[in-house]
């Protein structure tokens, strides 16, 4: 790792093994040579190229990678950016509930999420999609309008249904990933290793909630807009060509805070908490309100519940 953030992958031939075991290095070295020839342009460092899946890294390797990323982001965004790999809290499985009778479709959650989670501003990526529905049709995506743009919300005759990752207990996206780049953490959050995803988009085809987003181009995030407190499996800046998604604000919730969308909601439509805690608000909602699961028939078993509070 030198001061110039990028070194050519073709420097591999004379470079020394950086980290990890020698065997691993040799195993991947062949691929590196091919890739160097293939990419040619070489804005990929050897360490980046050879990096293993997050779940295969030992503590030392992870610390090195995090140091590398922090340095890279800090240089790129011209302010101190931290990258944490906070482990899940024991005895916690997160759940989310959304009150359809209160949501007014103001989309403040959408923008709070973008701000908190460092989504690309150009091209625009948003993890939450708010659907304007016909009251006469009920919950039916065939009568949904995600591009509603009236001067005032809520509009007469409509209700609003925000959709984001449902953090399924039985996630089809995880099942189909060919390289184990996405998985469900013990606290129930499905995450993506942005440094391992190959960008095949099979998970996007498999997700029934349209929750996954792809970085079709190089993500652009103005330095003054970055949230510098980031999580490795969460809101750190993403590279192009990989998939991303809602993580229940893993960088906040694993430290006992609410997700940004819950905090911003002006109507209190959004509830969040520990499903394993019988005294939590989320448990109260599930046990006492009229709750339904979106596309329940697909047996994805979401941990995201819609309910009618009033």
């Amino acid at each position: 790792m030198s001061d110039t953030p990028k070194t050519s992958a073709s420097s591999l031939a004379c470079g020394e093994p950086q980290s990890g075991s020698r065997r691993r290095f040799i195993r991947a070295a062949g691929c590196a040579a091919v890739a160097a020839a293939l990419t040619g342009c070489g804005n990929l460092t050897t360490e980046e190229f050879l990096q293993r899946n997050f779940r295969e890294l030992d503590k030392k390797e992870l610390a090195e990678i995090i140091a590398r990323l922090e340095k890279e982001y800090t240089a790129k965004f011209r302010k101190k950016v931290t990258v944490a790999a906070t482990p899940p809290m024991p005895g916690v499985v997160f759940g989310y509930a959304l009150d359809l009778s209160r949501c007014i479709g103001c989309r403040r959650c959408v923008y709070a999420c973008v701000k908190e989670n460092n989504q690309s501003r150009d091209p625009q990526i948003q993890w939450i999609r708010v659907l304007q529905m016909d009251k006469a049709e009920g919950v039916n995506v065939l009568h949904a309008d995600p591009y509603y743009d009236p001067p005032l919300v809520p509009q007469e005759g409509h209700f609003y249904m925000p959709v984001q990752c449902h953090q399924c207990k039985n996630p089809p996206c995880v099942k189909v990933c060919p390289v184990k780049a996405t998985w469900q953490e013990p606290d129930g959050i499905t995450v993506v290793d942005y440094n391992w995803c190959i960008g095949c988009r099979y998970c996007m085809a498999a997700c029934p909630y349209g929750a996954r987003r792809f970085n079709w181009g190089e993500p652009h995030l103005p330095p003054e807009e970055i949230n510098p407190v980031t999580e490795y499996l969460g809101n750190r800046p993403r590279p192009k060509g990989v998939v991303e998604k809602c993580t229940f604000c893993i960088q906040r919730t694993r430290k006992g805070r609410y997700p940004a969308c819950v905090e911003i909601c002006p109507t209190g439509s959004r509830k969040f908490g520990n499903l394993l805690d019988p005294g939590s608000e989320i448990r109260y909602v599930i046990e006492n309100k009229r709750v339904f699961l979106f596309k329940e028939e697909l047996n994805t078993q979401p941990k995201f519940f819609y309910f009618y509070g009033v």
Binding site: N53, Y202, Y209
Partner: protein, 414 residues
Amino acid sequence: METIRNFRRFCLDSLRLVVVGTRAYYGWVAFLLALMGLGIVAYLGQFQDGLIHTNMRDQVSWGFYIGNFTFLVGVAAAAIMLIIPAYVYEWKPIKEIAILGELLAISALVMCLGFVLVDIGRPDRFWHIMPLVGLLNFPSSLLAWDVIALNSYLLLNYVVATYLLYCAYTDRHYVKRFVYPLVFLSIPMAVSIHTVTAYLYNGLGARPYWNSAILAPRFLASAFCSGPAILLILLQILRKTTRLEIKDEAIFKIAELMAYTMGFNLFLTAAEAFKEFYTNSDDVVFIRYLYLGLRGHYTLVPFAWASVLCGLVAFLLFLVPKTRKNWVTLNIGCVLIYASVYIEKGMGLIIPGLTPDTLGEIYTYRPSLTEVGVASGIFALGFLVFTLMLKVAVPVMLGDFTMAKRPARAAAAA
């Protein structure tokens, strides 16, 4: 030692063979190389800036590349339309040309792998999906299955074809005990590559259009007409341009088999359409989008009906012996079948699977110039591979290219 030396000779002589040819040959190869150049230029932009150069977006996250991939898996599987009559029924007229099916399969698989590679967002991480080196999510992910099935089938065809050609080159009869098991293995393998590719879509509850139990049978039925359609035209070109003897009865037999598979394919298509339209549940929107248009969006409709119409006409042409045995109508039929299946198993499969998207949105997808450019480059690569292999295989089949007959100059050089 002797074998290694001979094989080296075979390789070197083959190399000499492919660099020498008529003007037409050079012209054809130059044309393919130019198209490949175009593909590379188009791909460089995509490589630099990302898949944003395509018209795929979050709503329609797979498009032209994956459509072509799916179609070509079918072409690759079709080699067994020659293998079965040749080796199971020992039917001599087809056995003489069975190797052409294997070569076609190899070329089709090269294109398949090309289309997958250009479709992924991080080609620099392709090693993640390689068995043993990367971290393959097997057996959970059907894409992992597909990687294994396609590569094994490619390897199998490559080994068999090379071995058969090498034996002919050295004027020896091939060892039956070695070839037959591999050839017979290639039959279930061909079925499996297409089944696994169908399951890749089939297993997604989020996409009702793909989530139909007859998807894999439909894949197989359509594959067994599109691949042979290419072969029939090729066989006629080969016997016009070379001394290769291909008997009429071989061609007519393949055409007859195609009539059955095309009929079955149309039947399965109708079965699917009946189930969707008559039930008329919410899930009908996908097939409606394909055949009738939905909420003012009619992009796919003309293509969908063109596919049905081409398929029907071709089926009739191949069913009636008189038109099947008429060269003009036979070739028209081949082109129609190719067009029909190309639409049906390409964009006609992928796009309605994803439109409307899971939240009901209709995004009108049309491939971008980049996608068309890259795709033509990959097709050119496939044709080039096929051309070069034929350049060696045809003289071998004719008995012109053997070790005994190698030109004196070449022998002296080696």
